[in-house]
C-alpha cells in the first residue's frame, strides 16, 4: 500500500501496510533513525515525534491514521524552543547512554510549546511518559528550567 506522509515539511510516499507504526516507517523506510524503539507499547517515550506540533508515540501510531498531518522528528526539529532545549541539554550534559534522549528532547519541546514557564509539577506531567533507564531525570528537569530561562530572555 502506498501512504503519503508529511515529514519534516517534505511529502514522502512509502510502500507499507496501513497499520504499520510510524516508528518503523521512519526508521526502516526513511532512514530517520533519531526516533528510537524502546517498548512498542506507548510506555517509554523513546519514539516520541510531533504530529501537528503535539508529542505523539510513533510506536503506536499507524501511518494511515496520520496521513495529511504535519510530522516532525528530531531530524527536522527547529525553531527557538528546540534550540533553547538542545542548548540547555548540552550545557547541563544531560545524556548518559543517550538512547532515550531524542524522545526526551521531543517531549521537552512539546511541553515548552504549551507551557512557556513550567514548574516542577508541569514537568512531571509533561515528562512522566518518557523513561530514562540511566535516570538522567535530575538533569532533564534542570535543563527544561534552563531552556525556559533562555526563552524568557529572548522575549
Amino acid at each position: 500500500m502506498a501512504v503519503t506522509l508529511t515529514i519534516n515539511g517534505e511529502s514522502k510516499t512509502v510502500n507499507a501496510e496501513d497499520d504499520t507504526p510510524l516508528l518503523w516507517v521512519l526508521r526502516d523506510e526513511l532512514n530517520l533513525t533519531g526516533t528510537k524503539y524502546g517498548c512498542g507499547i506507548a510506555q517509554c517515550g523513546a519514539c516520541t515525534v510531533h504530529v501537528n506540533n503535539l508529542p505523539r508515540r510513533s510506536c503506536v501510531t499507524p501511518i494511515k491514521s496520520i496521513e495529511g498531518m504535519q510530522i516532525t522528528t528530531i531530524e527536522g526539529l527547529d525553531g527557538p524552543v528546540a534550540e533553547a532545549v538542545q542548548a540547555a541539554w548540552q550545557k547541563i550534559d544531560v545524556p548518559q547512554c543517550g538512547f532515550c534522549q531524542t524522545g526526551q528532547v521531543m517531549s521537552a519541546v512539546g511541553l515548552l510549546n504549551s507551557i512557556r514557564k513550567p514548574d516542577d509539577a508541569d514537568i512531571d506531567n509533561g515528562m512522566t511518559g518518557n523513561i530514562c533507564r540511566c535516570a538522567t531525570y535530575v538533569r532533564i528537569r534542570n535543563a527544561i528550567h534552563d531552556a525556559a530561562g533562555i526563552l524568557e530572555k529572548q522575549k
Binding site: A16, E17, T20, P21, W24, R27, D28, E29, N31, T33, G34, T35, K36, Y37, G38, C39, G40, I41, Q43, C44, A46, T73, I74, E75, Q86, W89, Q90, D93, V94, P95, Q96, C97, G98, F99, C100, Q101, T102, V105, I123, D124, M127, T128, N130, I131, C132, R133, C134, A135, T136, Y137, V138, R139, I140, R141
Partner: protein, 740 residues
Amino acid sequence: MSQQATSHDKKPIKPERRRFLQSSAGLLIGVYLPVFANQKSGAAAVMQTPSEAGATLSPNAFVRIAEDNTVTILSKHIEFGQGPFTGLATLAAEEMGADWSQMRAAHAPANVEHYKNLAFGVQGTGGSTAIANSYHQMRRAGATARAMLVSAAATRWKVPDTEITVNNGIISHKNSGKQASFGELAASAAELPAPNNEPALKKPSEFKLIGTDLPKLDTTEKTLGQAQFTLDIYQENMLTAVVAHPPAFGGIVNSFDDSAARKIPGVVDIKKIPQGIVVYAKNTYAAIKGRDALKINWDTSQAETRSSKTLFKLHRDAAQKPGANATSNGDTDKALQDAAKTLELEYSFPYLAHAPMETLDAVILAHNDSDKIEAWLGSQLQTVDQGAIAQVFNTKPENVIIHTQLAGGSFGRRAQPDSGFAVEAALATKAVSRGTPVKLIWTREDDIKGGRYRPMVFHKLRGGIDNKGNIIGWQQTIVTQSIVAGSPFEGMIQNGIDPTSVEGASDLPYTIPNLDVSLHSMQTKVPVLWWRSVGHTHTAYTVETFIDMLLELADKNPVEGRLELLKKHPRESHVLRTAARMAKNAGPTPQDRARGIAVHKSFGSFVAQIAEISNENGFPKVHRVWCAVDCGIAVNPNVIKAQMEGGIGYGLGAILFDEITLGENGTVIQSNFDTYRSLRINEMPDIEVEIIKSDIDPTGVGEPGTPPIGPAVANAWRRLTGQKITHLPFISSVQQMETA
C-alpha cells in the same frame, strides 16, 4: 563543544563511514601515532589468567593524531553512558598537554593484546573498572605521544627537547618563539622511533584537565539525535530478524507451523536455530508480525518449570542452616546465646531484569567473497564475543571484526560471559546465505522475559547486643545462584564461595567480635548475570538495614553508632560524616518526613547516602538524597555526579517496584515496561552529591551509587512507619502488609 570522531553525515548510514580510521583516511591523514607495533592476530577469545593480564601493554595503541589537529583516543571500553570516552580522553589529553576542543573518542577494535581490561585479562567493560584500570595506561599513552611530538619539534627547530613546552595543544619553544600544533608535527613525529624510556607522568598537583568538569565528548550527538547505535545501522540487502524464544528457560522447539507467518507481507524467510525460530523480514514490523503468526509446539521437558514461589521456598529452606564459610571470627553461636537482646530477620530479593533502554541487537555480515565476518554490536566483552562468533562460523577469531557500537545502556546486560546473544545473532546470520547482513533485534518483551537476571537471593540474619549496647554477634547466611559458575569466570570461585554472591557482606567493615557469613549456592536453569553493582545489590541492603535496626535496639544514633564501629575504616567514616553534614546543613527534617542513612563500599569506592522520605498513601515518596562519594582522584567530577544520580535512580526504581516472577510452568509473568516498572521523573528525588578530595588513584563510579539507596530509603521508612521492609520490592511488601 567537542564531538566524537564519528561523522555527522547521516544518509545513507554506512557504518564504515563512521569509523575513525576510514573516515579520516579521506582527510589526507595524518598519522597514526604511534603505529601498532608487531601487532599479533586478534586471537582474542582465549581467557587469560589475571596475572598474565596484568602484563604491560604496548603503550601506543590508544592515541591517534591527525593532520587536522584532532586527537582521537581509541577507547578499549564501550561507551554506554558511564562516560569512558570522556574519561579516557581526559587522561590522555592531560599528559599530552592537549586542548580539550581537539579531543575525540572512538571505540577500539577487538584485540586482547592491546585492549584487554587489565583487571580481567579479556577486552571488556564492567565492575566499574574503566577508569581505574586505564588510569596509568592512558596517561602513559598520552605522555608517550607528547614525548614524540616534542622530539619532532626539537629536531625541526634544532633545539634541545628540554626547552620545549606543550600547553593547550600548542608546542612551543620560548627563546626562538617557534610554535606548532600537534597536527603540524604529527607526520615528522611518526618517523621517529617510540621513546625507549617510560616518560614521566605528571603529579596530581600538576593536573590541569583531570579534576575539571570538561564537557562530555558524546553529548552533542546524543542531544541532536545523531549518535549512531546498533539499531540505527542499515545496510544494503539487510534482513531484520526476530526470534521466537521458548516460554520457559531451557525449552526447545518440538515442531512449528510457519504457513501463516510466511504470508505476512515483508516476511522473507523462517529458520529454526537452537535458540528458537527466526523470522527474517524486509522490515522490523513484518518480522514482529511474522513472529506473532508462528505456531510453535515447545518441548519444555528439560526446562526450568518451577515457579518463583517454589524456588523462593527452596532458598528459604536452605537458609535455615549455615552454608560454606565466607568469613568467620570468634564464636558467633555463643555470642548470640549470651546476648542481652537479639534480632533475627529473613530477607528476600527477586530476580531483576536490567532493561537497558536499547534492547539487545546486532548486525552481522558474513562476507561471501572471503572468510571475513563483521559484527556491529554494543559488545561489552569484545574479545569474548569475537571468539564465540568465530566458533559459530567455524573460523579463526582474527577473521571476525568487531565494530563496537555506542549502546543504549547495559547495567551488566551486555556482558554475557558465554556470549549468548552474540551467538544467537551469529547463528541467525549463518542460517541465511553468506553476503546477507542480518540485524537481529530483541524486542522489549524478549528483553524482559529473556533471563540473565540478577539472581533471586535470600538472606537470614541474626544479631545480638550485650547489656551495654555493644553489637557482639552477627550471623549472616546468604542463599543465591552463582553468577560465574559454569562461565569462563568460574575460576573466581574459591572454596565454594563465589565472591560476587557475598561481596559487601563477607567484607563487613563494622568491627563486630563474633561474625559468621556463609553461602549456599543454588542451582536453577534460570540464566543469571551481573546487574549494576552485582552482589552489593542485596548485601548493602541487608547489612545496612540490619545494622540500623541493631543500633536502634541499642538506643544508638545511626551515624554515631556506625562511626564507633568504623574506627578502622577512615574512608567509610569520612563519607558518612560528610553525608550527615550535608543533610544537617539542609535544615531539620520536616515534620511528616524521616531520613535514613546507609554507607557502602563497592568497586573500591565509598558512598554514603541519606534519603529523606514521606509516606504518600502507604508508599514511600523520596524527596531528597544527599550523597557523599570517595572514588579517589575525581577525573571528571561532573561525570561522577551524573553516575551517582543515575545509580540512585536505577537502584531506587528496582527496590520500589521491580521483580521478575516465574509463574507456574516457569513462564516469566512480566513482559514490558507496563509490568516491569521503571522509575519515572516524578519519582526521582533531588540529589546533592559531594565528592571527597583525594589523591589516591581513581576507583569505580558506574556502580557504587546504586547499593546504598535501597537501605537508606528502607531505614527512613522504618523510622517513619515502623515497617521493616525485608522482602523486595517495596510495592509487594507494602501490599502484603495491607492485606494482612
